[in-house]
Amino acid sequence: MTEPLAFEKSRESLPGPRLPAAGLPGVEPAQVIPRARLRRSRPHLPRLSEPEVMRHFTRLAAMNYSISKNFYPLGSCTMKYNPVTNEAAASLPGFAYLHPYQPEESVQGALELMWDLERALCEIVGVDRMCLQPAAGAHGEWTGLRMIQAFHEGRGEDRSEVIVPDSAHGTNPASAALCGFKVVEVRSDAGGRVSLPDLESKLSPRTAALMLTNPNTLGLFEKEILEVADLVHAVGAKLYYDGANLNALMGICRPGDMGFDVIHLNLHKTFTTPHGGGGPGAGPVGVMKDLEQFLPRPTLERENGHFKLDFERPLSIGRVRSFYGNFGMLVRALTYILAMGADGLSQASEDAVLSANYLRARLEGALDFPHEGPCKHEFVASARNLTAQGIHATDLAKGLLERGFYAPTIYFPLIVPEAVMVEPTETESKATLDAFTEAVLEIVQLAQTDPERLRAEPTSLPVGRLDEVAAARHPVLRWRPPAQD
C-alpha cells in the first residue's frame, strides 16, 4: 500500500475552500504595498477538496505504528499509554484559546495550573524550583547546563569541561558542546555502572558538571550514586540529572536526595503527554536553591493568593523560548499527576520495574545479556549471539515489525555491541509481554533455520527495507513541481 503525495493528487482546476469574505471594500495589495515587495510566483500548494484531504491523511495514518495500536518496546523512550483524558483537558477552551499576551488577571487559572505542576514536579524529583519553559528534553539539558555555567561564572571560576558517561544519551554531549564545554567521557565498569576510579581521574577544577542518567541507559541503578555525588561536589562541580529514565523511580527515591543539583524531565515520557510522532514534548528543568537565581525568565510567583510572572531576574540566563513553554503539554502532565496521585505514581514506577525484569527473564537464553540484573525500568540485551548466522540487531528489529510489534531501540547504548534496548513500561499487560517474547523467540529460531527469510523482512508493511545509504548520498528532501515547458 502506498499513497501518492498530496501534490500529486492536486487538481489544478479546483477552486479554493469557502472562507469569510472581507465584507468591506477590497484593498488590493498593490494599492498599499510597494510592488517590489509583492510575491511574483505562486507557491505550489496542493489543491484538494476536504474529502480528499481527509482521505489522504487517514490513509497516511493507517501506514503508521502507534502506541494506541500496540506495544512500543523502545528503550529510553518510555512509550507508555497516553490517557485520552489528557487530550480532553488540553482542548478545554479556557486553555486552548488563551492568548499569551492577555493581562495577568485574566489568566490566573493558567498560572495556577503551572504553579501546581511546578510544585508537584519539585516534590517528585526533590528540587526547590522548576522552570517549565524548555520545549523538549535536549532543550532542558541545554538550559540546565547554561545555569551551571552561569553559576560557575558568577563565582569567577572558569570551568570548561563537562563529563558524560560512555553510555550517555547523544543529547548529553551535544548539549554540553553547544554550551561551549569540552566533553570528557567517563568509562563504564564491567558491571555497567560509572567507573569510580575513572571518574576520579577525570574530575578536576576544570570540571563544570557530571551529567548522569539514573537508572543509566543500561537500565541499571547507579548504586554508588552517593559516592559519585560526593566526588563531584568535592571538586566544586555540579551533578546533572538526565530525567529520561525517571519512570523507574517515582515515589521510590528522588534524584534531589541523591545529590543532583539540576534535573530535567521529559513530560512526554514519564508524564504521559503524547510523543506526537516526534514532539511537541516538554522538558522542565529543576534546580536546587543555589542555582535558583539563574532560572530562565520569567519565573512564576505567588503573592497573597495571586499568581504573577516575575521578569525582574537580573541573574537569569534569559529566556530559552518564547512565552511560557509548551503550555498545552503542561496541562496534560498535570492531568496525569492529578489522576494518579502519590500512590498511583509509585505504583506506575514499581510496575515498570516489574515488567522490565519479567521480560528480561523471559528473554534470557534467546539473547545475550552482557550485564547482570536486576534491572530497573529497562534492560539492554545483545543480538551478538545471532551474528554467526549473519543476523544482526537490525534484522531482529525488522522481524518484530513483521510480527506486529515496534522494534526496541537498537545499537544504543554504544558500549554494547548489537545492542537491543527494551523498555516495556507499566502500561503493558503480561499477555502483551508474553506475545512479544513469543515473537522474539520465533525470530531467534528463524535466525538458525532460515536467516535469508529474516533478512528479507518486513514483507507485510507498506514498504520493505528502504535504502538509507542512497537517501543520504543523494538527498531528495522535497517534491518538485514537474518542469514546465
Partner: protein
C-alpha cells in the same frame, strides 16, 4: 509476574538503591477519578477569560485564525499523536510522508530549496539560524536589523551566550530599517543580518535591500517571516535570503497560551548539512517502491554526539502535521484569500482609527499587511475599557521599546468581521 521471577515482593528488584534514599511516600494528594480530574481542570480553565475570536485584535506573534475542522480531526488521530519519532521507516511511512510534504510546503511558501521537519518555535528558529550562520562564515557576531520580536531577541541572546557569539541590534528611526542605518555595525565580522518581515510592529521591511547589504559584507541574510503573509509578500527565496525561519502557529494551531507552536527553518541547498534537527528524504525499497526515511542523520546528536549541528531530538512534529493539513486544505487560493481578507480589514481599521480623535498611525509612511502600530493618547486606560466589553485590544509595545511608549499594535484576521471592527471602533471612540 512476581511468581515467575521467584519473588514475593518487589523489594529484591530495588535492593541496589541505598536504603537512606528510599522514600516513604510522595507528598502529593491521592489520585482522582476521571470525573474529578476533569472537574478540577474545568475549574482552572474557568478562572481564565477567553476573548472571542472576532473581538481579539492582538497578535504579537500569536494569532487567532480560522482553523478548519479537518486539522484537529487529523491531528487527534491516535495513529499520529501516539507514535514515536519514525526511527523504523517501514512502520512509520504515514509520519515520514506527511513530514516530507511539510518540508515541501515550507520550501514552496518561502521559495527556499529545503526545509527541515520543524523546530520548537519562531524564537528558537531564529537562534538556530544565527548559530548556522556563525559556523558557516566562521564569524562570531550577528546583527539584528530593526524590530525583531523582543522575545525572539531574548532567546537569541540566551543562545548566543551559550554558543559564544555576540548579538548586535540596530533599531530604526522610522519603524522600518534603512540599510544605511546599519552603517559601521555591518562590517566583515558579521555572520548574519537577521530581520523580521513584516517586523514586530507589522511593518514591511525592504527585505531585498537588507539581503543585499548582508551579502555585500559577506554575511548571510536570515529572514524571519510570517507564513500567511507569504501569500502576498515576496518570499525570502525571491530576494536571495540564505535562511528563512518563522513561527507557524497561524497554520492551524490554537494560541494555547503560547505553545506548543511551530518553528520552521528553510535554507539554500548549500547549507543543508548545517541544518539542525530532523530531515526526511525519499528512497526506495528492494522492489522499487517509493518510501521515506529520516536522512542526513550524520548531522544529529544520536550519531555525532558532541560534534552534532544541534542537540535537538524531539521537535514539534504534530504541530508540523497540523500545518500540513491546514495548507492542504487551504491550497494556494485559500491562503491568498485569508491574507487578502486580513489585509483589507486591517487597512479599513487603520483608516477608521486614524479618523478618531486620539489615535494616529505611529509610522504612516510604512506599509503593512495585517498588523500596524497606532499611537494612542488614552494609553492603558483604553485597554481596560475595551476589556470590559470583551475586546482584547492592540498590544502595548512600550513594555519592550521605551521609544514606543503609548503605541498599540493592532491586528486583524479573517475572524474579525466588519461588525466586530465596528464594535471596537465604537468602544475606542467613547
Amino acid at each position: 509476574m512476581l511468581a515467575e521471577l521467584g519473588i514475593e515482593t518487589l523489594e529484591p528488584l530495588l535492593a541496589d538503591i541505598p536504603a537512606r534514599l528510599r522514600l516513604r511516600r510522595l507528598n502529593l494528594a491521592d489520585g482522582l477519578s476521571e470525573a474529578e480530574t476533569m472537574a478540577r481542570l474545568r475549574e482552572l480553565a474557568g478562572r481564565n477569560a477567553v476573548f472571542e475570536d472576532r473581538l481579539t485584535f492582538r497578535g504579537g506573534g500569536v494569532y487567532r485564525r480560522f482553523i478548519p475542522a479537518a486539522v484537529p480531526a487529523v491531528t487527534s488521530k491516535s495513529e499520529f499523536y501516539t507514535a514515536y519519532t519514525p526511527y523504523q521507516p517501514e512502520a512509520s511511512q504515514g509520519w515520514l510522508q506527511a513530514t516530507f510534504e511539510f518540508q515541501t510546503m515550507i520550501a514552496e511558501l518561502t521559495a527556499m530549496d529545503v526545509s527541515n521537519a520543524s523546530l520548537y518555535d519562531g524564537a528558537t528558529a531564529v537562534a538556530e539560524a544565527a548559530a548556522m550562520a556563525v559556523v558557516q562564515t566562521g564569524r562570531d557576531r550577528v546583527l539584528v536589523a530593526g524590530y525583531l520580536h523582543p522575545e525572539y531577541l531574548e532567546v537569541l541572546n540566551t543562545y548566543a551566550r551559550g554558543r559564544k557569539f555576540h548579538v548586535l541590534q540596530k533599531l530604526p528611526q522610522s519603524g522600518v530599517i534603512d540599510p544605511g542605518e546599519l552603517g559601521e555595525q555591518l562590517d566583515r565580522t558579521v555572520a548574519a543580518v537577521i530581520f523580521q518581515q513584516p517586523n514586530f510592529l507589522g511593518l514591511i521591511e525592504d527585505a531585498q535591500a537588507l539581503t543585499d547589504a548582508a551579502h555585500q559584507a559577506g554575511a548571510l541574510a536570515v529572514a524571519c517571516v510570517d507564513p500567511i503573509s507569504l501569500a502576498l509578500l515576496q518570499p525570502p527565496g525571491e530576494y536571495g535570503a540564505d535562511i528563512a525561519v518563522g513561527e507557524g502557529q497561524q497554520l492551524g494551531l490554537t494560541p494555547s497560551y503560547g505553545g506548543p507552536h511551530l518553528g520552521f527553518i528553510a535554507c539554500r541547498n548549500e547549507l543543508v548539512r548545517r541544518l539542525p534537527g530532523r530531515l526526511v528524504g525519499e528512497s526506495k525499497d528492494a522492489q522499487g517502491r517509493r518510501g521515506f526515511v529520516l536522512t542526513l542523520q550524520a548531522r544529529e546528536q544520536h550519531i555525532r554526539r558532541d560534534k552534532a549541528t544541534s542537540n535537538i531530538c524531539t521537535n514539534h512534529a504534530l504541530c508540523a502535521l497540523a500545518a500540513t493539513v491546514y495548507l492542504s486544505y487551504m491550497g494556494p487560493d485559500g491562503l491568498r484569500d485569508i491574507a487578502q481578507t486580513s489585509l483589507t480589514r486591517s487597512h479599513h481599521l487603520e483608516r477608521r482609527l486614524a479618523g478618531l480623535g486620539g489615535f494616529r498611525p505611529a509610522f504612516p509612511e510604512a506599509a503593512f499587511v495585517n498588523e500596524f502600530p497606532v499611537r494612542v493618547e488614552a494609553g492603558d486606560g483604553l485597554l481596560s475599557r475595551l476589556q470590559e466589553v470583551g475586546i482584547l485590544g492592540g498590544l502595548p509595545v512600550g513594555r519592550w521599546f521605551p521609544e514606543l511608549e503609548g503605541v498599540l499594535v493592532f491586528c486583524c484576521t479573517e475572524l474579525n468581521d466588519p461588525g466586530a471592527i465596528e464594535t471596537l471602533l465604537e468602544a475606542c471612540g467613547k
